[in-house]
């Protein structure tokens, strides 16, 4: 019996030791997870993470990442504000403030900076990637970091500068850098990226950064340093500690900042020309004459993917059908036939405040109804005047009674086939009252030239026209009027308009700013441009103030027939809603939670 017992004991002890062996507590073989070691164990995974960074870096231009996919037009005054749950509405309905949210998501921005640092620091471990590609990847990481820092520079001013991935135990007491330090830091990132990037990618990789893309990025960075908001001896408002004013102002007005814009833009333009890229102008009219093919040329430049689009330096191609439910993504269906998300875009017409920037096709001003008119105008007047507008208006808009000219012959793109109301209208609308808001003076159709049933847009990030306008603006500030006009008219003539000949510097500045507005409608530039130009009407007409929209009296309620010219009885201009401006809105607030950590200081006024 004793022997049996000892035998049993030994057996159990052995069993116990077997059970105790180390592997029991090893991480079980859970499926489907990729860890950092597997990310950099092969080129496919590493590239997947890099492309994830692309999606964030260039998606941010057009969408707010914590909200539904809505472009910046709503807060830039290019579009109406959308629905009450949409970002533009919530952002400004109660005034931009530090406890809710601002356009640029500070937290996500630094998450992406970190991700880019991690890729750059680990890419050398990837065994199946050649050294040349690794060099490209590192340069792409630097280029995307520069993109993030440029966005923060425009939006916050000087920010904490992070150039590697921290671990939680590092000393992370990094206050905001000055504007100059942030500028220099970002310029250096651009320079290293330009040095390391290729001139072009194989066709399958089109969409990744090239030398030229970062050159254009650098030119944009420099123009924001040169514009009056930063290039000034006094800030727009003083920081609560004036010693920190160098975070939002250079402290002097230095004309040399414009010189560097000229240099950088010319370098970028030269690169473009060497790669066969230029402003698309198929009319063959050359500089000085209106381009007869303006509608198609402008439509192609803003809708076609490269390299068929020879104006495009970099674009962003992302489709996310799940945007309605959650997550980052962009689904910008501006026509109405697709049922998935058109509703989200329904209240985003162009307000009158922005319509004013467009000229008639002959280069003169259009006479639209004004606030305070004695009587409404007949509905046919709208259709007539709409059709008199310059090609860029026609390429970018449809309206009640007016088919989308950028999709000719396609029933879905006609007013009758729009299948949804295109105007603020009602059977009982009474002049001069406001009937509704959201449909503006026209429904936007930009990015959909010859789109047919395509519902995703291909957003241009950088196109050659931007370089010409950089040069026009910089030359004008330097007093080189002829050079300014020459560059301005490259863009202006391509749009089918006769040359501008103004020589007065201030008047020319206004003309250039107007060109920026119209040429880059909805390309996510205006929100920053108007702030950095410090335009006097920014708080009353451009970003804030009364939003004016056309109101229509119609004779039918059915969605399709409201849009028919025969049913438009009359229309007038009215205040759709009012947003209040606060001078602090020149820059956006750092999130209050960050400021409460007592390292990063807040921008003035918040």
């Amino acid at each position: 019996m004793k022997k049996l017992m000892f035998g049993l004991m030994i057996t159990f002890i052995l069993l116990g030791m077997y059970a105790c062996q180390k592997t029991f507590l090893q991480q079980p073989n859970v499926s489907g997870n990729v860890s950092i070691s597997t990310i950099f164990s092969n080129s496919l995974n590493a590239t997947s993470e890099l492309l994830n960074a692309y999606q964030w870096a260039f998606g941010q231009q057009y969408m707010n990442q914590s909200n539904t996919g809505v472009c910046m037009g709503g807060i830039a005054g290019e579009e109406s504000r959308g629905y009450s749950w949409q970002f533009a509405y919530t952002c400004y309905a109660t005034g931009l403030n530090a406890t809710t949210t601002s356009w640029v998501n500070y937290g996500i921005t630094y998450q992406q900076v970190r991700e880019l640092c991690i890729i750059r620091e680990n890419i050398d471990q990837v065994p199946d990637m050649d050294a040349v590609t690794k060099g490209y990847v590192k340069a792409e990481c630097q280029g995307m970091m520069a993109q993030w820092y440029m966005l923060m520079f425009k939006d916050f001013g000087g920010v904490p500068l992070v150039n590697h991935s921290y671990v939680a135990t590092d000393n992370m007491n990094i206050p905001r850098a000055s504007l100059q330090q942030t500028l220099t830091f970002t310029e250096k990132l651009c320079d290293s990226a330009i040095a390391g990037l290729p001139d072009s990618w194989p066709a399958s990789q089109f969409g990744r950064l090239t030398k030229g893309a970062v050159m254009a990025l650098k030119a944009q960075l420099l123009i924001f340093a040169a514009r009056p908001l930063f290039n000034s001896s006094t800030p727009y408002l003083s920081m609560s500690d004036p010693a920190n004013n160098n975070m939002i102002c250079f402290g002097n007005t230095d004309p040399k900042r414009w010189d560097s814009v000229v240099t950088a833009s010319n370098i970028a333009l030269a690169w473009c020309k060497s790669q066969g890229l230029d402003v698309i102008n198929t009319g063959g009219a050359g500089v000085g004459k209106p381009n007869p093919n303006a509608l198609n040329d402008y439509g192609m430049a803003t809708s076609l993917p490269g390299p068929t689009n020879t104006e495009l330096i970099l674009n962003y191609q992302n489709q996310n059908n799940s945007v309605v439910t959650s997550g980052p993504g962009f689904y910008y269906d501006m026509s109405a036939y697709w049922t998935a998300s058109r509703y989200d875009n329904a209240l985003m017409g162009t307000p009158y405040n922005f319509l004013k920037n467009y000229l008639k096709a002959d280069g003169t001003e259009q006479s639209w109804p004004q606030l305070g008119d004695q009587a409404p105008r007949p509905g046919s007047d709208y259709v007539t005047r709409f059709k008199q507008m310059e090609p860029r208006w026609l390429a970018d808009h449809a309206g009640p009674g007016c088919d989308a000219a950028n999709n000719p012959g396609d029933a879905k793109w006609t007013a009758a086939g729009w299948n949804q109301t295109m105007s603020n209208s009602s059977l009982t609308a009474v002049f001069p009252q406001t009937v509704a808001y959201g449909n503006g003076c026209g429904t936007n159709t930009k990015f959909y030239w010859h789109a047919g049933s395509r519902v995703w847009p291909l957003f241009p990030i950088y196109r050659v026209a931007e370089l010409y306008l950089n040069l026009a603006e910089a030359y004008n500030e330097q007093g080189q009027t002829a050079l300014a006009l020459q560059n301005l008219n490259v863009v202006h003539n391509r749009a089918g308009l006769p040359s501008i000949t103004i020589t007065d510097q201030a008047a020319l500045r206004t003309a250039i700013q107007r060109e920026w507005a119209v040429e880059f409608y909805l390309e996510s530039k205006r929100y920053f441009d108007v702030k950095h130009w410090k335009l006097p009407t920014i708080g009353t007409d451009i970003l804030m103030g009364n939003r004016l929209e056309f109101q229509f009296l119609v004779s039918s309620t059915a969605a399709a027939s409201i849009n028919l010219p025969s049913n438009l009885i009359s229309y007038w201009n009215a205040v759709a809603y009012t947003w209040l401006w606060n001078p602090r809105m020149m820059l956006e607030p750092i999130p209050q939670g960050e400021v409460n950590k007592l390292i990063v200081v807040q921008n003035p006024g918040y």
Binding site: L15, P28, I36, E49, Y54, Q55, P160, S204
Partner: protein, 977 residues
Amino acid sequence: MNRNRLNYKLYIFKSVLLWTLLLIGAIQLMAQNKTSNKTADTVLLKNNHAQETTPGRLFEIGNQRSTGAISTAYGETLYKTTTPSITNTLYGLLPGLNVIQGSGEPGFDAASLYIRGIGTYGVNGYKIFVDGFEVDNNYFNYMTPAEVESISVLKDAAALATFGMEGANGVIWVVTKRGHIGKPIISFQTRTGQQSPITLYKPLNSFGYANLYNQAISNDNGMVWNPKYSPAQLQAYQNGTGTNVDWFNQVVKNNGAYTDGDLMFNGGDQNSKYNVVFDYANQQGLYNVSNSSITSNTQTSDEQFQRYNLRANLDFNMFSIFEAKVDIGGRLENRKSPNYTSNFSTAKLWNDLANYPSNIYPVYDTTGTNGANTHFSGTTIYPNNPVGSIQGLGWQSNSVRELLGNFSLKEKLDFITKGLYLSEAYSFNSYVQSTYNKTGTYARYIGGTTTTADKFGSIVASSQVAQAQSDWRQAWFTLGYNKSFGNHSIISAINYQNSSFRGEGLFPYKINRENISGRANYAYKNKYIAEFGFSYYGSDAYAQGHNWGFYPAISGAWIISGESFFKTNSILQFWKLRASVGKSGNQDANSPSNFASNGRFLYQQYYGINSSTLYLGTTTPTGGVNMLNPLYIANPNVFAEASMKYNIGTDLTLFKNLAISFDLFLDKRSGILTQDNSLPGYFGNNVVFNNVGKMTNKGFEVSASYSNTIGKKVSYNINGMAAFAKNTIDYEAEVPPAYQYNAQTGRAYGTPIGLVSQGFYQLTDFNPDGSLKSGQPLPLFGKVQPGDIKYKDLDNNGVVDQNDVTAIGKPALPTLTYAFGGSINFIGFDFGILFQGASGNSVNLLNVPGMQGFVNNGNAFPIQQGAWAYYPSQNIDTRATATYPRLTTLANTNNYRTSDFWMQNGDYLRIRNIELGYSFNTQKISSLLLSKLRVYTNLVNPVTFSSLLKNYNIDPQTISGYPPLKSFNIGIVAVFK
């Protein structure tokens, strides 16, 4: 409806009849002969449950020598509450166990349990062990009291010493019934009753709704009277010619039936013992459909929960060395419900009932060619006609099968040295859930035409498919040594236990744990007791080389009454002092928001797939490429949170019959795995998890029980208990708030943080153009108008925003729970009552469905009749008396946001059960081969005292969904000899 009322009346009639007969019988007996009756004494004994040992891990120990804070309840006490879920039988029985009632929905009625309140803001889950092996909540909740010997709550360091990373939140320790040596005993018990809602929070009728709607729409129209319902329509609602559907009445019956029964066999001899339990329970729901529909193929369905339980516990002694235990258990749970559920629960139907106004449409559309009661009404705004939801969609069912087997073998090694033993055990627990549905659809009609795309579809059966499964295997080895010599006595054991769980999901798919633990209890002269326990615990959730933790605990007791100077005391018969201190851990943690890891594997940097698609190349949309996104930032040092527990306690017996127990405790929690918001944003990711959180939890428990007899025929017992626990978050790395008073840190976990209201805006607060007069703080939650809630500007900066929030109430979990009750036995009759109450908690009215009135096409409730309104032309002026902000049909972010306006006191006192029973004279029934025959009737949750219930008709514990239940039951217990 009538049938149900009839049923209920029948029950009452039956029980009155029963009691009348019993009374007559009893009086006859008393008159007839004066045989002394021992039943009273037996019952008294049962109530006191003269148990000599305290349950615990590794070994049970004599009560005298126990040093821990452990409270225990016994199976027959749990049986007093008629409910299918064991968690709902625990109210007021175990000091230190806070039981929070949930939904009353059959099959989904588990109560939430908290041991000594809340010790961590991380995962506060306690662990449950049945016969030494861990089980999950599902298994525990539907055990039957008939299979349970005792349920103990292990609370302090001494009791939890050997649980390692599973001890920090306390342990529920269940021991099942085993056979006894003696003649076989067959017992049978069954009970049946009718369950009905404690309360229904019902909306107004059409007239009330329409009246208030007119106010709301006018308020939205710049306070210009602009009624939607004309006087004629209102009159039609009032005189009954307008549509007026009481959806609750249409859908909810007055009561549903409950029946359960247990058959038990118990017996054994020196070599083998057995206890076998068969159990069946059937609970019907409250949905107003015919009973036959439960089993038939019709489209209609009530709710139903059925349980079949079987457990056989067998003991064998072999030779003089081996003791083997074989426990086999199996359980089937069937749930069936109307096919209108999410996660099988019909809670959303109750939301519809609250939110669908009475005047939207009649139940059936009878216009045109539609016949009577054939075509359900429905609109696009209110598509889910509540009657249609239970009658037109068919049903779904799911069935849970659990199989449990425990095997253990003990070898007494007295031949090596006396008192030495070795034991081994193995357990498996397998769980499978499958679903089977028969579903249909129906078209929605208004005025003879369909309003939605839905069409009639005949009932279609699904195939039976597996829904969920898990598999849990555990094993242990124990080496124990018990010895007494002279004044010294030692009881000790060391143990190795491992646990391997395979479930579902990415990260919880497989969970492995190991625990090497030990415990030694030493007594000197049976007066001075010291105990040491430890656990060396390993978890697979942490990095290799960093995944084991050591958790020691020491405790002691002094039996003062054992000292010679106490020997002849007539007041104080027993007095013990206890103290314990020790460390335990908690490996459960919250997961990063985008990632269901439950705090596991955070030491590894993981990546997930970004759901959207990036397109490269020259054509789209072909060739979309995958993108990988880091899920969080890995932290190689993550580990289990730690708890230091301190406890002092005393147990007293006074005047021979009064037993008092008192415990005072302190739990210092540290290293709570927390999303570290203190890292600056430029660190680059807000999802960094770190063991930085700290919390303190302290409180006391006191219980007292007095038992005595009056003469020989009456015995009685009075008992009471109270438990208090209050916690503070010392540090949680929260996003730094602007002001200290905004912070959650420094307050009790779950303290509601919100704005402080100051009554309503009045007309005088506004300029003629509708803007607020200057000098008042401007609320930033949207434009305000008269009748809106006014808030305090705590930081005096002229605006009311999120910087003006502060603590506005108490957490949802009560700080104080108490219970008291008693029982009396008198010549065969027994009567018992248990009151249970709680206080120190707040209820947020905004969580009650329908509280936002007409917002989102909602409904109107009596509470909204107190709304602020001023329409002098309509004779409406509640400016001075308003108890609710102005009504609106639009979302209102000013009024409907967390503020003290919506916080209500959640205190309550409830009678948990009243029981009246009669046990027949043993001699009279012995001819029937019975040794005991008892009939009884009881009421569960019959009466509740609560300001929330009184003022608003809202149950203080269950504010939404399927209502909690009260019940009226009759039962019989028979023991055959």
